[in-house]
């Protein structure tokens, strides 16, 4: 059997990779790709805690479903914002979007 630690370490590594993507990418769409990786890492944790605790309590799976819904909402609004910004400013580089920066 696979110990719980393997899943938790995998999720921690995936989260860190996503964090790296969010921090270093310049393109706004690539930043959202990093956010998706982080949400997936959280979901691995939720589902593995469901499996390794009491399986008749479905809390982990229920919250994984809620995270799916939140991820879909986040990515649809985020990409709509990116497309809207691209239309008005003609760039999706996060560094160049400094209109409200003092």
């Amino acid at each position: 059997m696979i110990p719980l630690s393997w899943y938790l370490i995998l999720a921690a590594a995936l989260f860190s990779i996503g964090l790296f993507g969010v921090l270093v990418r310049r393109n706004a769409v690539a930043i959202l790709l990093g956010v998706e990786l982080m949400l997936n890492a959280v979901n691995i944790n939720l589902v593995s805690f469901w499996r390794y605790a009491d399986v008749s309590a479905m809390t982990g799976q229920v919250f994984a479903i809620i995270v799916f819904a939140v991820a879909a909402a986040e990515v649809s609004v985020g990409l709509a914002l990116v497309i809207s910004v691209y239309r008005s400013r003609n760039t999706v580089i996060a560094n160049d979007l400094n209109l409200m920066k003092w």
Partner: protein, 169 residues
């Protein structure tokens, strides 16, 4: 080492390698396609955890909808992809150090936890995870309120996305 552990290691390496390609590759269309393979690896991880329904939802919602949405967005903002400039910040090493520190901190904290190397109990025979999940999602004594809030959130996101991206001329 059992067969299950070998499968887990192969899938985990595949997932982490694809995730690294997502954050480092220069071409954004390739990054979106690497995201698809990462999401598929995560779906296999769910299947290894006996969460079949979550694995199917992962393929349908994440790969079928979210990844395709990303590819659409990349193509709609295509003009920037052709520039030869760097895809990363000038101080990317700071982000790399921070990510490694976060991973080390998480691993250190998890190692001190008593349930860290717990093994899974065998599933009871005739255990119906999907039926139980459906009951819990619609039962007033369980999670019907978060479920309804999530559906309202999706509706709001749908209206908001159409409003924000709509071309007003």
């Amino acid at each position: 080492m059992t067969a299950e552990q070998i499968i887990f290691l192969i899938v985990a390496l595949f997932t982490l390698g694809s995730a690294l390609m997502v954050v480092t590759t220069g071409n954004l269309v390739h990054a979106a396609l690497w995201l698809v393979s990462t999401l598929f690896g995560v779906a296999v991880i769910y299947a290894l955890l006996n969460a079949g329904f979550i694995a199917v939802v992962q393929v349908v919602v994440y790969i079928g909808a979210i990844a395709i949405l990303f590819i659409f967005a990349v193509m709609l903002t295509r003009k920037d992809l052709r520039d030869q400039g760097p895809q990363m910040n000038s101080n990317w090493w700071l982000g790399a150090i921070l990510a490694v520190l976060v991973f080390a901190g998480l691993a250190f904290m998890l190692q001190g936890w008593s349930g860290f190397s717990k093994t899974a109990a065998v599933l009871p025979s005739g255990f119906d995870a999907v039926g139980l999940l459906g009951e819990q999602l619609t039962s007033p004594n369980a999670y019907v309120l978060p479920f309804e809030v999530a559906s309202v959130l999706l509706l709001a996101a749908l209206v908001g996305a159409v409003y924000v991206a709509f071309n007003k001329k």
